[in-house]
């Protein structure tokens, strides 16, 4: 099940795409993945926690610290994914150093072996991408690239060309975390990306509520929601709260169809 073919098929059928994120290694994260799949997610992003997550705000920082303190390693997360049968594509999100340390080929092969479809490495921009992307391509792992509001048009095009699975539009200037309102940059980056690519365009960072998700989807093909999901994991310690939230977002996104 490739990430891009799954997302394209669903998008082309008129569905808005919902990709929740959970930090791997948090208590109950595997159950949460399965529950969110059942609640209407189209793919799920699993974080492999890193000690210095510069793209993440307080919620995911806390989740990462908690997971690491509990002994989480890249391998414990990947083994966990291996045992899941989510029925939707799984994408891992981590920072570059754990990948570099694991070894590009070894990491890509391991992702394929455990059934991971894609990877997001937010501190690996286009210029530094090659060693990882070649290994990932060879293993059939789709590397999703981020596209930020600060990029000029030609850079957005280059990113869309090289991205696999979908294009991850960064919805605002800032790190991950819940925001009261949808940033005005969200609609703008989605428009700019939709103008230059046929790949599914999902926006993420700062999308926190069902209403915000629905609003973003007036332009974008879908949304990635991280901190709002992870906060519910941190607060409740179980899979129910994030799954209920995903169901709410799903329902609200469907209303606008």
């Amino acid at each position: 099940m490739t990430l891009e073919s799954t997302l394209r098929e669903r998008r082309d059928a008129g569905r808005k795409l919902l990709v929740p994120y959970v930090t791997g290694g948090l208590e109950g994260w595997g159950d949460a993945v399965a529950a969110m799949a059942g609640a209407g997610a189209d793919a799920v992003e699993v974080g492999i926690p890193f000690s210095d997550p510069v793209m993440d705000g307080p919620t995911i920082q806390e989740a990462s610290e908690r997971a690491l303190a509990g002994g989480t390693t890249p391998e414990t997360v990947l083994s966990g994914i291996d045992g899941l049968d989510a029925g939707i594509p799984v994408v891992v999100m981590t920072y570059y150093n754990p990948v570099f340390r694991f070894g590009h080929e070894r990491f890509a092969d391991r992702l394929r072996t455990v059934g991971v479809s894609g990877a997001i490495v937010p501190d690996l921009p286009l210029e530094e991408l090659a060693p990882w992307a070649i290994a990932a391509d060879d293993a059939g792992v789709e590397t999703v690239l981020l596209a930020a509001p600060t990029a000029p048009d030609e850079r957005l095009s280059a990113i869309c060309d090289r991205s696999r699975g979908f294009v991850y539009g960064v919805a605002l200037l800032g790190v991950t975390g819940e925001r009261e309102h949808l940033a005005s940059t969200t609609r703008k980056i989605a428009q700019r990306l939709k103008a230059v690519t046929d790949r599914p365009v999902l926006v993420g960072v700062g999308i926190s509520t069902p209403d915000q998700a629905a609003e973003a989807c007036e332009v974008a093909d879908g949304v990635v929601i991280g901190s709002a999901v992870v906060r519910r994991m941190l607060d409740s310690g179980g899979p129910e709260a994030p799954a209920e939230f995903v169901a709410e977002v799903r329902a609200r996104m469907n209303e606008n169809r």
């Binding site: 150093n97 990948v99 570099f100």
Partner: protein, 382 residues
């Protein structure tokens, strides 16, 4: 120590490993720095500020007493006598001028010992810019005076409570701030670390230290010193002084704290935007450094130092906290110069290696003054 290769590479090290949001800002900065560095008006304005505001050139002190004790000839490059008390001002004045040239109105910085934070707050005051300094809570406690200084200078100091609550985490938060504020803010990186062009640019702004020292040694010795040494955390003061001697016969020795010896004990890795040596566990998680000196309490090191170590042009030694405290006292007692704990690391190595160095001339970059550390050392020594 010339311009890095394509993409900001020093051999295999360096590069630009940062969130996509910051890539255009780093490209813009690289372009602006390249233009400014070739612009005589910019250079002359910087020179004027370093002379009339920062107090350059800093003197070279021929230390007769300690030299006799150690059986060598110790020369100190007195960066401790600069305005704000360390070499940090050289870089900060350069970056603030550049920020103004790029139309940025706000500076964001991280600080460990507080020296870079104080220097940045100073430059912000001088240029009428807004300034926000991130500092680990552990460091805020051990460098309380510098926190007050920064606030006095009009900067906002934000405590960092994540991770080890020291320099590494302060850099994380400064980068997070910059991701959100990049349109009006310049990230004023304090060392030769970070994404391209920072390691190159900061070294160029610190090059003045090596240039002056080269001339001063020539005037005093009629030659280059046998050995040039400096402490290394991120490595900006070492990069500055090494750059003046890298093409000479002088031996270059960087000195790391045992608890933060990225080159001595680390392996290649990527953090804070560049590939270098890094203290990390087998899974690639960055480890916490542990040093008596907040300014060297950093698990990484500048990529050019990794390259210099790899080619063998420089070597890197390690010293422990106890030796550092002895060196701190030794210089105070024999020469009447209280060094910062950071350069006391380099002196600790000189003292330990005195037999190897017997009869040689040793140039040591005294990168900062010890006023900020007196309280901490007093508590430690009782």
């Amino acid at each position: 120590m010339g311009e890095p290769a394509e993409g900001g590479r020093f051999g295999e090290f360096g590069g630009r490993y940062i969130p996509e949001t910051l890539v255009p800002a780093c490209e813009e900065l690289e372009k602006a720095f390249r233009e400014a560095w070739g612009d005589l008006d910019f250079r002359s304005e910087l020179e004027g500020l370093l002379r009339d505001y920062a107090g350059r050139p800093s003197p070279l002190t021929d230390c007769t007493h300690i030299s006799e004790d150690l059986g060598l000839r110790l020369l100190l490059k007195r960066e401790d006598l600069n305005h704000t008390g360390s070499h940090k001002i050289n870089n900060v004045v350069g970056q603030a001028l550049l920020a103004r040239r790029m139309g940025k109105t706000r500076l964001v910085a991280e600080t460990g010992a507080g020296q870079h934070g104080v220097a940045t707050a100073t430059a912000a005051a001088l240029f009428g810019m807004e300034c926000c300094v991130y500092m680990g809570e552990v460091d805020m406690e051990r460098q309380e005076l510098n926190v007050f200084r920064m606030r006095l200078l009009g900067a906002e100091v934000r405590g960092v409570s994540s991770g080890s609550r020291t320099l590494k985490d302060a850099i994380n938060d400064a980068l997070r701030d910059w991701v959100a504020t990049v349109e009006n803010t310049h990230y004023c990186d304090g060392s030769v670390v970070g994404p391209h062009p920072y390691p190159w640019m900061v070294r160029e702004f610190q090059r003045i230290v090596g240039q002056e020292a080269f001339q001063q040694c020539h005037d005093l010795l009629g030659d280059v010193p046998d050995v040039v040494t400096a402490c290394v955390g991120g490595g900006s003061n070492a990069a500055g002084i090494f750059s003046g001697f890298v093409d000479t016969r002088a031996e270059l020795v960087g000195v790391e704290p045992e608890g933060g010896a990225a080159l001595g004990r680390g392996v290649p890795g990527v953090v804070h935007g560049s590939k270098s040596f890094l203290l990390q566990d087998e899974f690639g998680q960055v480890l916490e450094a542990e040093s008596i000196s907040a300014g060297l309490d950093y698990p990484g090191v500048g990529p050019e130092h990794a390259h210099l170590a790899g080619t063998g042009r420089a070597r890197y030694e390690q010293v422990g906290d106890e030796e550092v405290l002895e060196a701190f006292s030794l210089l105070s007692r024999t020469e009447g110069i209280i060094p910062a704990l950071e350069p006391a690391h380099a002196l600790a190595w000189v003292s330990r290696a005195r037999e190897e160095l017997a009869g040689k001339s040793v140039l040591l970059n005294l990168s900062g003054r010890g006023d900020k550390d007196v309280d901490q050392v007093m508590n430690r020594l009782g």
